[in-house]
């Protein structure tokens, strides 16, 4: 070993002592350290310090520590409700006022509608029945029109013809339809599972 005129930076020597250099860097650094007394001494000093620090003992808290902690911990017995409450309910008076105004806002158009209906001779008691009749009529009309449009477009005829050609008649088409009805919810379930898995989940060990 000789005294070199140039020396490795302290950073590099620390990383060498810590085994933090890459394989190639380690080889180059060791080659220099073998020839340089000063750098070799510095690496040894770093290693001695790291070793001394690593050998320091861990300290234990007092024996009653765990019980003292657990006495102050609120176990999440009603966890889902608590979480829901914490996430969704307002926390300030201003928040409560905003939420109240937001909740009451839809009542205004409803009151206006009732006022208009009463002005048109409709009593409040008959409003739910009339509304339901209107809704059911509109929904049925929509379904009938959609079905007529579907059949009229020729798509249905094309599906029946193609199905007969491909899967061998009505029976094959029925089997394909059943398989399709099973596959859709299964793929939806798989998608939901995939999306709900947290990204980058790591374990602490």
């Amino acid at each position: 070993m000789t005294n070199e005129t140039t020396h490795l930076p302290t950073w590099t020597l620390e990383e060498l002592a810590e085994d933090a250099l890459s394989h190639a860097e380690t080889a180059l650094a060791l080659e220099h350290v073998r020839r340089c007394t000063r750098c070799a001494a510095e690496v040894e000093a770093h290693r001695a310090l790291f070793s001394a620090l690593a050998s320091l003992p861990a300290f234990d808290p007092s024996p009653g520590f765990a019980d003292a902690v657990m006495q102050r911990v609120t176990l999440p017995v009603a966890a889902p409700a608590a979480v829901l409450q914490r996430r969704w309910l307002p926390r300030t008076r201003r928040g409560w006022m905003t939420a109240g105004v937001g909740a009451l806002a839809p009542l205004l158009p409803l009151m206006a509608l009732l006022s208009w209906l009463s002005g048109s001779g409709v009593s409040a008691g008959t409003v739910p029945g009339r509304a339901w009749n209107w809704f059911a009529g509109a929904a049925w009309s929509l379904i009938v029109r959609a079905a007529a449009a579907f059949v009229g477009s020729g798509i249905w005829q094309w599906l029946v013809t193609t199905g007969n050609d491909l899967v061998g008649g009505t029976r094959g088409l029925s089997v394909a339809a059943v398989l399709f009805m099973i596959a859709v919810p299964v793929s939806a379930w798989a998608m939901v599972r995939l999306l709900r898995t947290p990204v980058g989940m790591t374990h602490a060990h």
Binding site: A52, P57, A58, A66, V69, V73, T74, M201, T202, A204
Partner: protein
């Protein structure tokens, strides 16, 4: 509420599994997490504040905060990083609020009687050393502990996490909420100061 880990050996579960069970209300899962982390968390805080009673208070507060907010745990981070981050934040806040003198490891400075001194004295683990080696080892250990105690809190925290808890640089940066380069600088400067302070010893 039934204990979700009753049929399972909690010691074989990962931290994440234990957190999930704790979120469902399993006291056994909480106690297993406590068992895993009370020693490293208390050691880190004790080395930061140099006072056993205060370290116990801060460690207790750390676990209470972590456990009472367990539903907010983000599994994208390691549980150890989360708990060490809370521990170091609490400790640094306490140090900033208080002028911290350097004290000996041989008992609390708040101890007023021999019983209290005895109770607050740190017991260190010993290997198979003879009494003379043990004494030298203890003296050296005390000198190193004193030197660590004289470092700036930021350097002390980084050095303890790196060299005593063996945490990787990236995790230390996460715990201290600092850029990786800053953490490396802190550790480098801390090492340099330690070497200067311990130059008269055999370290």
């Amino acid at each position: 509420m039934p204990d979700g880990t009753s049929e399972l050996n909690a010691t074989t579960l990962t931290d994440h599994d234990l957190v999930v069970r704790a979120q469902k209300g399993s006291e056994k899962a909480y106690r297993e997490l406590l068992g895993r982390y009370q020693r490293p968390v208390f050691s880190l805080i004790y080395r930061m504040v140099r006072d056993r009673e205060q370290a116990e208070d801060l460690a207790q507060e750390t676990f209470v905060r972590v456990f009472n907010n367990i539903d907010r745990y983000d599994p994208a981070y390691k549980f150890s990083s989360w708990i060490f981050k809370i521990a170091t934040n609490l400790t640094i806040d306490w140090i900033r609020r208080k002028e911290l003198p350097t004290v000996s490891i041989d008992g609390s400075r708040y101890a007023t009687s021999s019983d209290e001194i005895e109770a607050s004295t740190i017991t260190v683990e010993s290997g198979d050393e003879n009494p003379e080696q043990l004494l030298v080892s203890r003296e050296l250990g005390d000198q190193i502990e004193d030197a660590i105690g004289k470092l700036r809190p930021e350097y002390r925290q980084a050095i303890v996490l790196r060299h005593i808890d063996d945490r990787p640089y990236e995790e230390i940066a996460q715990i201290m909420a600092l850029p990786l380069g800053t953490v490396k600088t802190y550790i480098h400067r801390g090492r340099k100061e330690l070497q200067e302070m311990l130059a008269h010893t055999r370290v």
